[in-house]
């Protein structure tokens, strides 16, 4: 992507200068630059001061402390919340395990930073939220579990037999199914209906479900749109353009009001699953466009070369064309995931209690009237962190993949 190699063409070459000289060149090169810098600094200073004054003096963070459970899981039954703790522990175990397998025994600087961040968050956040002592201790235990898993798998991961290694990524989909059972019940666990899921739990569940299913759908649609067979091409194009032409809120509205008419009685899923499926089908159209641009970037010769080597159509696609196309499509696809995560806030507009829905419900409580700023700020920080992390992860993956890319490109 051209945008990513952008360096300011006129940016001064500042390497090899002392910090003071660099500052001078960057910010005070000409009198006008100096004035701009000073004006910006004054504005920034005033803004930061106002924000700090508000955050420390005027804001009342009790609204967050009193509602932290509600924001996290909505109206999930209190007696069943151990299932969510168990799921969190399993997820952190898998995270730590994968992390350790990727890095091995070494703890490079970025790993040490991450570990420090985890410890700091485990120590600060539960205290900041004024949680019970027992629950605070649980969070400390979870953080320790994550780091321990990282250490153990880094140390002994290499001892795993090579035949097992390709199977390891399968832990994640397996864990997802286990997670769905733990959250929703069944298999001997008490059922917790989707209408009781809420807060961050619902937001993450909806986003992760839609993200994992929209990928295969999107790839299929992109292939359909580039197919030589007119029937496939036209139906894929029609679907993609129809979805992309409508605002998401109208489609969610369609899901809530019309899906019940389209399916025979009783077959239509409940309100939460309807919205999640609509999100999935919506995102698939956008992912399809990202994948299509990736497919367009693969030179025709690659396919012809593969065919002339005797690979059949399916092999050509899965071994030659798709790996290259998906690498090109990765940044745009992750961009769509970020959008999708943000789009889950629209669930609150159709009366569901996702993170934003719960927040809006809290603010109708007379005890917390007028505490909009605090709640929205916390939500914004949460979303910002999740989205920025996705973006960072995508860039890291891109770097890793480009190492294996042919050097001629």
């Amino acid at each position: 992507m051209t945008a990513d190699v952008a360096i300011a063409p006129t940016a001064p070459q500042a390497q090899g200068l002392s910090p003071l000289a660099r500052l001078r060149r960057e910010c005070f090169a000409t009198p006008v630059d100096g004035l701009i810098t000073l004006a910006l600094l004054a504005g920034l200073g005033a803004a930061v001061q106002a924000l700090l004054h508000w955050a420390l003096r005027q804001a009342d963070w009790a609204v967050i402390q009193a509602n932290s459970t509600l924001l996290a899981v909505g109206r999930y039954p209190l007696g069943q919340q151990w299932r969510l703790w168990l799921l969190t522990a399993l997820l952190l175990l898998a995270c730590g395990g994968s992390w350790g397998l990727l890095r091995g025994r070494h703890w490079p600087r970025s790993d040490r930073l991450t570990a420090g961040l985890v410890v700091a968050m485990a120590l600060m956040l539960p205290r900041g939220l004024a949680l019970d002592g027992a629950i605070q201790a649980r969070w400390w235990g979870l953080a320790a579990l994550l780091l321990l898993a990282r250490w153990a798998s880094g140390r002994w991961g290499a001892l795993l037999p090579h035949r097992c290694r390709p199977l390891l990524p399968l832990v994640w989909p397996l864990l997802y199914v286990v997670g769905l059972v733990l959250i929703g019940g069944g298999l001997g666990l008490q059922r917790v209906t989707p209408s009781q899921w809420g807060g961050l739990l619902l937001t993450l569940l909806a986003a992760s479900f839609a993200i994992s299913l929209c990928c295969p759908l999107g790839i299929a649609l992109a292939l359909g749109r580039r197919s030589a067979l007119p029937v496939l091409r036209w139906s894929a194009t029609l679907y993609i353009e129809f979805i992309r032409g409508a605002p998401l809120i109208t489609l969610l509205f369609l899901g809530q009001n019309i899906l019940g008419f389209l399916l025979p009685g009783g077959l239509a899923p409940d309100r939460v699953w309807r919205a999640v499926w609509i999100l999935t089908f919506f995102a698939a159209a956008y992912v399809a466009e990202a994948v299509r641009s990736g497919l367009a970037a693969v030179p025709r010769g690659q396919e012809e070369a593969a065919r002339s080597l005797g690979l059949n159509g399916v092999q050509t696609l899965s071994r030659i064309v798709l790996p290259q196309a998906l690498r090109v499509a990765l940044p745009a696809t992750v961009g769509q995931f970020i959008t999708l995560l943000q789009d889950t806030t629209l669930l609150s507009l159709i009366g569901l209690f996702d993170l934003l829905g719960v927040a809006r419900a809290i603010m109708t409580n007379p005890d917390f009237l007028g505490r909009n700023a605090e709640v929205y700020l916390v939500l914004a920080v949460l979303f910002w962190c999740c989205c920025a992390a996705l973006g960072l992860g995508s860039r890291a993956l891109e770097k890793r993949l480009s190492r294996h890319a042919p050097s001629s490109r």
Partner: protein
């Protein structure tokens, strides 16, 4: 020579696949439509457009076209559509202006300005628009002071009763101005402009970055200043890359305007929602909505394609 088995025939195979796919799609559509007709008949809601000319019975908060509760539903939907178009057109202009400024600020010779532009984009793009809209409406605009304490700028007064533009006077504690914007409209406009500008800034930045470095250097060596280089040499060439990118951002903006319902601005979607709640005509209302947004999208695309032809390089 062995004969090719019939299922691997070069002509036959594509036909078979298409026939199977087409049949599957048709069966699914027939199944859904069959259910729809059966369920709608059972509910007594078979497709009909007569309700459009019945009196709406609800008021649309702010309209450019005269409207009251006795006028028919189609007038209410039309008023909503006009409200949507009003906010979309203004937001397009505002977001383009702000986005261009932020996008070109990424190439400023001032390091602080460059970093601020980057921070703005990263901050806005990673926070959901709906959250931003609620923030602007509930936190910023609804907490504006009233009467004499209102924020007064030259030609603009920000008060709890609305935004007053042009010649403004305070009469008995109530502001009056040449033009009054409601808080709902202002919040939606602000949120759309600030949000879309971050995305447009990225498009502009990508476009400017696509202009070869030699163009900058040549312009500088001809004696043009930084600003002249940018406005006379680089931007006209960057436009070729920028305009197609703007097209999709504009369409996204038009669709995003449907979040108006969250702050109580009566746009097309919010009027349609009220209409549905009153009439129960889900399918018809849905068709109206989809048709309207599709038309707006196509309109923007057509205009931008025309613009694209204008900025493309004119070759011999």
């Amino acid at each position: 020579m062995t004969a090719t088995p019939w299922w691997r025939h070069r002509r036959l195979l594509p036909l078979l696949i298409q026939a199977a796919a087409g049949l599957a799609i048709l069966v699914v559509i027939a199944f859904l439509l069959g259910n729809l007709v059966r369920n709608l008949t059972a509910a007594g809601l078979l497709l009909s457009w007569r309700w459009l000319s019945m009196p709406a019975g609800f008021d649309v908060a702010e309209t450019l076209l005269p409207f009251n509760a006795e006028l028919p539903y189609w007038r209410a939907l039309l008023a909503g559509l006009v409200n949507t178009l009003r906010v979309v057109v203004l937001a397009l202009v505002g977001a383009t202006a702000l986005g261009t400024v932020v996008g070109t600020a990424a190439f400023s010779s001032n390091g602080l300005l460059r970093r601020l532009a980057r921070t703005y984009v990263e901050l806005i793009r990673n926070v959901p628009l709906l959250l931003q809209l609620l923030f602007w409406y509930f936190v910023v605009f609804l907490s504006l002071p009233n009467g004499a304490e209102a924020i007064q700028l030259p030609g603009l007064v920000l008060a709890k009763k609305g935004l007053y533009l042009g010649h403004t006077t305070l009469v008995n504690g109530v502001w009056q101005g040449t033009l009054r914007l409601t808080l709902e409209f202002s919040a939606l406009l602000t949120a759309l402009v600030i949000h879309s500008a971050a995305f447009i800034a990225e498009v502009v930045r990508g476009g400017v970055a696509s202009v070869p470095r030699g163009q900058w250097e040549a312009a500088r060596s001809l004696g043009l200043g930084h600003r002249q280089t940018l406005s006379r040499i680089v931007l006209p060439q960057a436009l070729r890359v920028i305009v197609p990118g703007l097209n999709s951002q504009y369409i996204a903006l038009a669709k995003n305007s449907s979040l108006a319902v969250a702050c109580g601005y009566s746009d097309l979607y919010s009027v349609a929602e009220t209409t549905l709640n009153q009439t129960g005509r889900a399918v018809e209302v849905m068709l109206v909505l989809l048709g309207a947004y599709l038309t707006i999208d196509l309109l923007i695309s057509a205009l931008m394609n025309r613009l694209n032809q204008l900025v493309q390089i004119q070759e011999r």
